[in-house]
Every structure is written in C-alpha cells, then in structure tokens.
C-alpha cells in the first residue's frame, strides 16, 4: 500500500552515514525504514492526515516548533511521517528523548537507531550543524498532558530552542497539529499521584475502560507547516530578550492552531 513511492522517498533522504552503515548518532536507515513504514500507515490510513504548507519546510537545517498534545506523543510520530511522506526532499526527523530512556534496554537501542537523541543542548547543536531537521515541543510534558478543557491552549514555552536557533542560524518552522487533543480525552491530571509514580503525568481517561478504547480515537489529523521564521541577535542574551522572540513563535503557533480549528469541518473527517 505504500509500495514504490515509499522506496523512492527512502532513497532520496539526505543521510550522513559512516562505513558501519549508521550515522554519528547511531541512526540506521534499515531500522528507521520499518518504524517509518508503520507510522506512515497510521499517518495515511488511521489518522488520514492532511498536510498543509509542506513547501514551507526548507531543505537543510531546520527547527520544527510544534504544539504538543494527546497524552501519548503520536503527534511527534505524525510530524515525522509527514516530513518523510509529504515534504521535499523527504527527511528523517530527529527528536530529543528523555535522559532516563537511555537506561532502558531495547528502548535506548531503538531510539538511537531511528535517530532519536538524548535531550541535551550539545546534541541539538550538533544535529543542526549537520543540517538535520530537529523537532522540538517547547511545551514539554506540560503540553502533552493537557486535560480536555484546556485543549489547544498552548502552555508556556521553554527558551532553549530560541538560543539554539540564533546560535546555529537555523530557520524555525512553526507547526500546528490538529486532531491530537481528541485522540485520548483526559478529564483530569492527578499530579500528586504522578509524582509518587514518577510519571510525567497521571491522566484520567475514561475511554481506557471501554474495550478497544485503549487505541487512540481515529480522529482526523491535520498538520500545518507555517512559513519559516528567522531570528538574529545574541544567543546569550538575557531571558527577557529571548522571551520576546519565543513569544512571537508561540503566538504564531497558537494562531495557526486557532485557524486550523476554525477551518476543520469535523473532528473525525
């Protein structure tokens, strides 16, 4: 069902492979292929994702700054699938993972082989210097665990991505993902319990009790890529100066989300 188009795209992904067949961060195209095939299936068939503004993504280094939603980071996978299936040239999107994931057997290995790197600024800088596409959710785990009444309202953005963009002279492409907030409906987030269990959040999701409700609801995903934003200045400037620039990006993403919500006909189609 993905067939020739998939293979053709795979052959056109810009890669930086060494003799051992992996890139300096451990990305192995053979592993990435299988993970991408699975996400591409979800992207095309399950969530029937519509992608807008794919042409806005420049070739070369780019920072994708997106809203975060959905309790489970399916939005990241769908952006990754869109970057591969809909953007020219097709790209393998790099994202940052939690440091503790490195202590888990198999998980750390899988993350590394499909191009996910440990979330430290040095790694982000190096990836951008190597002209990779880096996906960042500046809301962090605050964003993904939003309850249903707060859906599509962006929480605070971290500042790190802006310093990185200025330092490495990287264009920022704002991204709005619509459809993620309805895949799992969370009525409440019990923070005290999350703390005890050392989880980033403890959402209350009634749908988990319904047979089959463990799967995300098949909402229709819509991904909007905005026009690239360029920022200049001093990467080591005061927080207040950086905050202003971050605010501009946050407003852009929020208004793209608002427009996307207004324009969509239905949550499921």
């Amino acid at each position: 069902m993905l067939g020739e188009e998939f293979e053709d795209r795979l052959s056109r992904v810009p890669l930086n492979l060494g003799q051992s067949g992996v890139d300096p961060f451990g990305l192995d195209p053979q592993w990435t292929k299988y993970v991408l095939a699975a996400t591409a299936y979800l992207h095309r068939r399950y969530f029937r994702t519509e992608v807008f503004g794919a042409r806005n993504v420049p070739a070369g280094r780019v920072l994708l700054i997106s809203n975060h939603s959905g309790q489970v980071p399916i939005d990241g996978a769908m952006i990754g699938a869109a970057m591969f299936m809909d953007v020219e040239p097709p790209r393998f999107t790099r994202a940052m993972v939690e440091k503790w994931s490195q202590t888990l057997p198999f998980v750390s290995l899988l993350f590394s082989r499909v191009g996910q790197v440990v979330g430290v600024p040095e790694n982000a800088r190096r990836l951008l210097e190597e002209d990779e596409a880096l996906l960042v959710f500046p809301e962090g785990s605050r964003g993904i665990s939003k309850t249903f009444d707060k859906r599509y309202q962006l929480s605070d953005f971290g500042l790190g991505f802006m310093r990185l963009a200025i330092e490495t002279n990287t264009p920022i492409v704002p991204v709005a993902v619509i459809g993620g907030e309805e895949q799992y409906v969370s009525l409440a987030n019990i923070e005290s319990l999350a703390k005890v269990l050392r989880m980033p959040a403890f959402p209350i999701m009634p749908q988990l009790l319904i047979p089959g409700g463990q799967l995300p609801l098949p909402t229709k995903y819509r991904i909007h890529f905005g026009e690239p934003m360029h920022f200049e200045g001093d990467a080591d400037d005061d927080d207040s100066v950086i905050e202003e620039k971050v605010w501009a990006v946050r407003q852009t993403v929020q208004s793209m989300v608002n427009r996307g919500l207004r324009d969509r006909k239905h949550v499921f189609w």
């Binding site: 003799q19 067949g21 451990g26 490195q102 057997p105 590394s112 440990v118 430290v120 040095e122 190096r126």
Partner: protein, 312 residues
C-alpha cells in the same frame, strides 16, 4: 626542533617508557632526539641510544634526570591502571609521583609537558551528549570510584597548565586504545567469547595505538598547548565493532550481568571491575575536532585495522 646546536635542550623524558605505548613512543622519537626513559620495570629490547633510568617517580633520584638542564620535553605515560592494585598504592603512584614530576618540570624550565589522560575521565553516563567536548565535566569517578586518581592526574595537569603559562602543557584524552596494549578495552576484545549487554548497543570510538603515538608526537610540536580529545576512525555501534572482529558474543541481561560480575570480581576470576559494564551500556564518545584543527592530528588507521590491532 631540527636544530642541534650545542647546549640547546632537546632531550625528551618519557615516563612509563617500558609499557607497550611507551616503547612505541620511544622508538619513534629516539631517531630525532635524545630520549630518556623513566620506568621501574625492565626495558625489553631497548635501542642502544635510549637512556633508561630504572626508578620510581616518587624517588628523589628522579631529580637527577632533570639536573643537567637539557630536558626540553616530558611525556608522562606512567599512569597505573591496574584495577587489582590497592587503592592507596594506586593513588600514591599516580598522584604523588605525578606531583613530583610536575615540580621538576617547573623547577628546571622544561618547555613542554605532554600528559596522556583518557576519555574515560568523562565516564559513560546515560545523560552524556553524543560527543563530549574538552569542556565537559569529568564525571568518570561518579559511578566508578577506582578511577578517581586518574581524574585527579588530569586535574593536576590542568591546574599546572594555568599556574605555569611558560610551560606548554598538553593534555591528551584518547578514547579506548586498541592494540597490543593491555588495557581494559583491548583485553575485553581479546576474550574468546565477548559478553555484551542484552538490549544495549552504544556507539563507541576506538583508536589504534600507533595513532595515539602520532597524536603524542603532534603534541610535541612548538606552540601546541591545551586539552585535546583524541579519537580514531568514525564512531560505530559496538555490535559492528564485534562483527568486524568476528568473535562470538554472549548477550547477558544487565540485571544478571551486574551481580555476576561482582561475584567473579570478588573471586578473582575476572580482571574487569563491574563499573566497566557502563562502557558497553552508555555512550562515552568525544568530539576530537580541536585535535584535528589545532594539532593537525589525523588517524591513519581505519576501523578494521584498529579493531584487528588487538590480535597482533
């Protein structure tokens, strides 16, 4: 360096000269300049023009090496890495001995000091960036307290670098050195069946012992100073390295490997302390761009030659 006018100090002192790396360094240097080796061991197959002072760095006699005033450079390789040696002996040898050496380097106006540290001072950690720069904190002792004195040596060299700007101090931090050397990495790869940790396959960097020698020689060039990470061929997954080596592997779950290693260690059945397991679990790779740009260092051996060097 080529000028051989009388009384121009050109002599190089190499500590730990009887180790495999030390002998290689001495053999490369002795054709161009006088070499004095300092080591308490015997120098097997010593070329005639190399002077060997059979002594312990902690002894007063070390002063005699410098007294003539014609020592131009000191290469410090004499670091003890024996995990079975008692901690106190380890510390006294590595830290006290090096302290004495530093004293004489300052006192007798030696122009150049090259210290062979190791990328292990950074330590394999789950939160390591993929490539550590020279500015990264030295956390190697956090999970592996037995190597704290190696970190101390590195720090001593750093403070010497700042306190004595007239001495060109170079600290080299090479990644796992492979070859005939007897270090943990080479010994590990010489095991008949190489254990790995199930579900972990970190990216690793290795370097051929001959490439370390050329980095040391590059560090001797005039005006070279500072801290340099030194790496060999491009990084590769541990599994790829083992495939190149072509030796059978034995994947063990970490939860089993850790108590097993503790047990084997206490029974003297293995020469690998348990914390070494982190090296096949987490990344500890370095960014060596500074050595390439400033020292003009380039590894001459590719991945296959480097890995196979342990079988020489």
């Amino acid at each position: 360096m080529v000028s051989r006018k009388k009384k121009t100090p050109t002599k190089v002192v190499v500590t730990g000269v009887c180790g495999r790396l030390g002998r290689r360094v001495a053999r490369v240097l002795h054709r161009e300049r006088p070499v004095v080796g300092v080591d308490r061991r015997d120098f097997i197959g010593k070329p005639k023009d190399i002077e060997h002072m059979k002594l312990d760095l902690r002894r007063k006699k070390l002063r005699d090496v410098f007294r003539s005033g014609d020592v131009e450079a000191v290469i410090h390789l004499g670091v003890m890495h024996d995990p079975r040696a008692p901690q106190s002996e380890h510390h006294s040898w590595n830290v006290e001995g090096f302290g004495k050496l530093l004293e004489y380097v300052a006192q007798f106006d030696v122009k150049k000091l090259v210290v062979l540290s190791s990328a292990n001072v950074y330590g394999p950690q789950p939160h390591n960036p993929q490539f550590l720069t020279e500015e990264a904190p030295l956390l190697g002792g956090a999970r592996f307290s037995e190597i704290r004195d190696l970190i101390e040596v590195d720090m001593l060299a750093q403070s010497f670098f700042w306190k004595h700007p007239d001495v060109q101090t170079v600290i080299l931090r090479p990644v796992h050195i492979l070859g005939r050397v007897r270090n943990a990495a080479s010994n590990f790869l010489r095991l008949p069946r190489v254990p790995t940790l199930l579900g972990y396959d970190p990216m690793v960097q290795v370097i051929h012992e001959a490439d370390v020698v050329s980095a040391i020689v590059a560090a001797l060039s005039p005006d070279a100073r500072g801290i340099f990470n030194v790496a060999g061929p491009e990084p590769m997954p541990l599994s790829h390295l083992l495939r190149v080596l072509g030796r059978p592997t034995l994947p063990v779950p970490y939860s089993l490997a850790k108590p097993l290693m503790n047990r084997l260690w206490s029974l003297h059945l293995t020469s690998f302390p348990t914390p070494e397991l982190d090296h096949i679990r987490y990344v500890c790779m370095v960014d060596d761009r500074r050595a390439r740009d400033v020292l003009g260092y380039m590894p001459a051996h590719d991945a296959e030659e480097t890995v196979r060097a342990v079988e020489d």
